[in-house]
């Protein structure tokens, strides 16, 4: 038991290349910034982040919401500005931990303020932000110098484990929910219905009806990728990540999910951390 504990301490205490986690720390807030900038551009901030009684869309009150108590009229819109400023600091690596905490709490409050528009991707990114707060991801690719080349590995390992749970849960939910709708080969697959439903996808349902078999294969591919996610915990993670990139590019091309795919892909640099490609470039650069 003592030997096992010692091995755990050695493994969880090791250090790794700082660049992958630092790159995720840069990309994740940029994706969120662009997502919020799009809301500002479309003039949706007031409609989404004010309660129905103040002229907004959402009627549901959330017991964890306190932003509304500060100012029912301006709490939401001001929080959008504060979160965007904090995200810019996080991406730049300045005032890192306070800025990330402000961004996380503000982002969560915006989710409480308009629950129906807060999706799974928001929960995933907030969980990663919580992990990043206690990491040293700001010690590389930051405005502050000098940069560190190696940082503790455990935050990166935790994010990987989180992704394994996310993908595997999604795969099992499909498999256990309706195996025939995902793995059968008759009628219209779930994938067909998801990507052609005009309120969520943007593939023409009539045109795609002729390509049903491709979408059956796409469904198998999706479930295969999701259930193979434990590969992320091995040194073959980068091969899985290539398939994951294809999956998310496919989702981005066929569905109206905003920054979902780009938010997920912002986490992918850490999946390539041990890839021979990254390390080969590093070796050649240092030699």
């Amino acid at each position: 038991m003592a030997r096992l504990w010692r091995r755990w301490l050695t493994w969880s205490g090791r250090e790794v290349d700082a660049r992958p986690l630092a790159l995720t720390r840069v990309l994740l807030p940029i994706m969120l910034l662009l997502d919020m900038a799009r809301l500002v551009q479309l003039g949706l901030v007031d409609d989404l982040f004010r309660h129905y009684d103040q002229g907004g869309i959402n009627v549901a009150l959330n017991p964890h919401l306190w932003l509304d108590n500060l100012s029912p009229m301006w709490g939401g819109p001001v929080a959008v500005g504060v979160v965007m400023a904090a995200l810019a600091c996080v991406a730049a690596g300045v005032l890192y931990r306070p800025a990330l905490l402000v961004a996380l709490v503000g982002y969560a409050q915006l989710g409480h303020l308009c629950g129906p528009s807060d999706r799974g991707i928001d929960r995933i990114l907030r969980t990663v932000m919580l992990i990043l707060i206690v990491s040293e991801a700001h010690k590389h690719f930051s405005l502050k110098r000098p940069w560190k080349d190696r940082i503790p590995a455990w935050p990166q390992d935790l994010v990987r484990y989180l992704l394994v749970l996310v993908y595997m849960n999604s795969g099992f939910a499909k498999l256990l929910g309706d195996p025939a709708g995902w793995l059968g080969f008759e009628g219209q697959s779930h994938l067909y219905r998801i990507i052609t439903n005009p309120v969520a996808g943007h593939v023409d349902p009539v045109m795609a009806d002729d390509w049903g078999w491709v979408l059956w294969l796409g469904g198998w591919f999706t479930i295969g990728i999701e259930l193979a996610a434990p590969l992320l915990l091995t040194r073959h993670a980068h091969w899985w990540a290539l398939a994951g990139v294809a999956l998310h590019l496919g989702i981005a091309a066929t569905m109206e999910l905003g920054m979902f795919s780009w938010g997920m892909l912002s986490l992918y640099p850490i999946l390539f951390a041990e890839s021979p490609w990254l390390n080969a470039r590093r070796s050649s650069a240092s030699s």
């Binding site: 301490l9 129905y52 807060d118 939910a173 499909k174 439903n197 999910l257």
Partner: protein, 197 residues
């Protein structure tokens, strides 16, 4: 930080993540394989041994895992990080569209580039789930808020408009024949949103 403390805390975090969303178990309902009837049906379909294993797993899930996961929820809710990841387990049985009519003219239809007024807003990722709930479920709780938003934009862009209608249409895939399932209308000068007659 002391390495033993760090190691212990990390183990606790891994355990919390696993308890909150264990693959497959998180998808099972609390009552899964709970009743005698459900167990008898499973025995008839899958045999005695697989059913016994299934009953043991679902009992542990119900009696141990779910209460432990529920205990973690208050912390998760503060940061809105509830760990539940059952994305797109199924799909809608029918195809749904939102249509926006201003007076007698169609100006928006989901997924139809010919009628694209307000399309950027209505398909944006934060508004889309509200649009989907509105067209799929009659009387969804944010339908009036959505309708009020559309009316506001319509009055800004079409100042002479007298009536704005949001119609939810549905039909079997691939959607060649659609019919109106329910709708909301607002008329000037008071612009109160009401279900259409």
């Amino acid at each position: 930080m002391n390495e033993h403390l760090r190691g212990g805390l990390l183990l606790a975090v891994y355990a919390a993540l696993t308890l909150a969303a264990p693959p497959a178990l998180d998808f099972l309902q609390k009552h899964h394989l709970r009743s005698e009837g459900a167990q008898a049906k499973a025995r008839a379909n899958f045999g005695a041994v697989p059913t016994a294993i299934g009953v043991a797993v679902t009992t542990v899930n119900r009696e141990v895992r779910i209460p432990a996961a529920d205990a973690l929820l208050p912390i998760q809710r503060v940061f809105r990080i509830e760990q539940s990841w059952n994305f797109y387990s199924g799909s809608l049985d029918q195809l749904h569209r939102l249509e926006v009519w201003i007076d007698d003219g169609l100006v928006y239809r989901s997924g139809d580039p010919e009628y694209g007024w307000l399309a950027d807003e209505l398909t944006s990722r934060r508004l889309r789930p509200i649009v989907q709930a509105t067209v799929v479920t009659e009387g969804s709780r944010n339908a009036r808020g959505l309708a009020r938003f559309v009316v506001k934009r319509a009055r800004e862009e079409f100042p002479d408009a007298r009536e704005v209608t949001l119609a939810a249409t549905r039909g079997d895939f691939p959607g060649l024949t659609m019919e109106t399932a329910h709708s909301l209308t607002a008329r000037g000068p008071d612009w109160v949103v009401e279900p259409s007659k």
